[in-house]
Symmetry: C2
Subunit: 310 residues, 2 copies
């Protein structure tokens, strides 16, 4: 096998697995799927108005030794929790704390590992639960009409995966991978944002409406998801083995960083026609690699595109 044919083979296999091949198919037997636009095609054709920048007042930079994680808060769903996290960041609470938990297929969590002498902070110690929010206060809800096992309606609000129930008038953020939740004690109102986690595995939907979900990791997810799994119960690191823990160098609000030093990322507007085309490209897939197209997309399977501004 020559280098070039093997390269093609590998590239084809790779594209194949992503199942978004944009190759034009020559005329084929009738049973082959016709080619269709891929997500990459849709992004390439997108217009500046299809994107919004991250709001510096809702954007956190969390610097690990391996690089920067960028987090976007969702204050429409959790205004008080978002405000408390801003306060914690601004008093530099997270600086020099740690990743404290990494549980396979579930979550990576960060905060203070020290049970004996917890790091003090001025921000609120407890924030009233914000597990759901009134539908009318969360913003434009763009439905995904493919169905859902857990919620009556699912879709996107301002770049976040969400669900809602017209019967109760409530909406909530959904525990898809990259979403950030607020660890809490048994009482509903015991969370405060000083311990946060992000979902690294298949969406643990039973947590929906049981925890305040406050945002998502927009950039740098791989820095969190590859943290070695903790050897303690539930993936917590052993307190007696501090070398297991990755330190957090610092966390800053983007708004507090000089504008010239900020990262410039944009999120696709999920209420745009272009985002509908992104979803359609994942729902209806073309040949020649795909032999069947799913015809459906589940909420957490729908990509929410992020790009760096030029």
């Amino acid at each position: 096998m020559t280098a070039s044919t093997t390269a093609v083979r590998l590239a084809a296999a790779a594209l194949a697995l992503l199942a978004t091949s944009a190759q034009a198919a020559p005329a084929k037997a009738a049973r082959e799927l016709p080619p269709r636009p891929t997500v990459a095609d849709v992004l390439k054709a997108s217009k500046p108005a299809d994107w919004r920048p991250l709001d510096p007042e809702n954007t956190l930079y969390m610097d690990l030794p391996t690089g920067r994680v960028i987090i976007e808060l969702a204050p429409n769903f959790a205004p008080n929790t978002a405000a408390n996290i801003r306060a914690l960041v601004r008093e530099k609470y997270f600086d020099n704390l740690f990743i404290i938990r990494s549980q396979e297929g579930f979550v990576v969590q960060w905060g203070d590992p020290d049970e004996e002498n917890p790091k003090p902070f001025q921000a609120a110690k407890t924030v009233k639960a914000e597990f759901t929010a009134p539908i009318k206060s969360v913003g434009n809800f763009t439905r995904l009409k493919d169905g859902d096992v857990y919620a009556p309606q699912v879709g996107h609000v301002n770049g976040f995966p969400a669900a809602r129930d017209p019967a109760t008038g409530q909406a909530w953020l959904v525990h898809c991978p990259t979403m950030i939740g607020v660890a809490r004690d048994t009482g509903a109102d015991t969370g405060n944002g000083s311990q946060l986690y992000t979902v690294i595995g298949h969406a643990p939907r039973a947590l929906d409406r049981n925890i305040t979900v406050v945002g998502r990791v927009v950039v740098g997810m791989p820095l969190l998801s590859v943290q070695p799994r903790g050897t303690g119960a539930l993936g917590f690191y052993d307190y007696e083995q501090p070398e297991q823990r990755t330190p957090i160098k610092l966390v800053r609000m983007a708004a507090d960083v000089p504008e010239a030093e900020r990262n410039k990322f944009e999120v696709m507007r999920t209420d745009s026609a272009t985002y509908q085309a992104v979803v359609d490209a994942q729902r209806h897939r073309g040949g020649p690699w795909n032999k069947v197209s799913p015809g459906k997309i589940d909420l957490c399977g729908a990509t929410i595109p992020v790009r760096e501004q030029k």
Copy 2:
């Protein structure tokens, strides 16, 4: 906060996040959920007959520098591919090959990274696609009646997550995390099992019925899922940077290892009443930590218990 109360707080938060707390709740306000059996409770009460050992002829040991990954093949769904993988293992094809790809939220893949001089093998170069199999040949299908976005019916067959369509008479393994698929080229029949991948993120269901799924990782998933993400397209490692790749020391069939040296793991029988109780414990969750119970479980959210034999 004293050490003991903080320990309780952390333990409670941890349990909370797992949402399987078994603590007995004292009498509480009416709106609290009553306590219910957790998955741990069900496992504790399980009987030996609720479990089956791994079949040595369908069990692979893949040894990485960090430990052993144990894989179970599903020959009822992919008999020819399983046979070819056995042949590859028995000619020691995988020994000294590599993890070649790690793509965030998607898959980790292994095989031969060398495009110039691929490692030769005697096993079949191509195996006819086994994307689906007749319902009547795959074994006892235990339905999960909570619904699914993609398939008419989902459930479990012999410890594997599966779907079926009575209209076509076909069943197939589903791309839940830990499931193992056969990388292929554009042609449906171009896979052979020499490049395999496992799902590390939210279930990529669009791959269902587009790829031969041949088994799952039963033990050692964390050794694969934390592989540093590849810097090349689609998470492939850069061929010019071999230090990025984790080597595979060897892969052996359990049947070819002296019995005394085999790992003794058991998988819960998914057609048992006890497995229904496991599913129910995840579907209906009790207080005091849970404030709402999902009432549903999605296929890839349903744990398939594995334990080491005493």
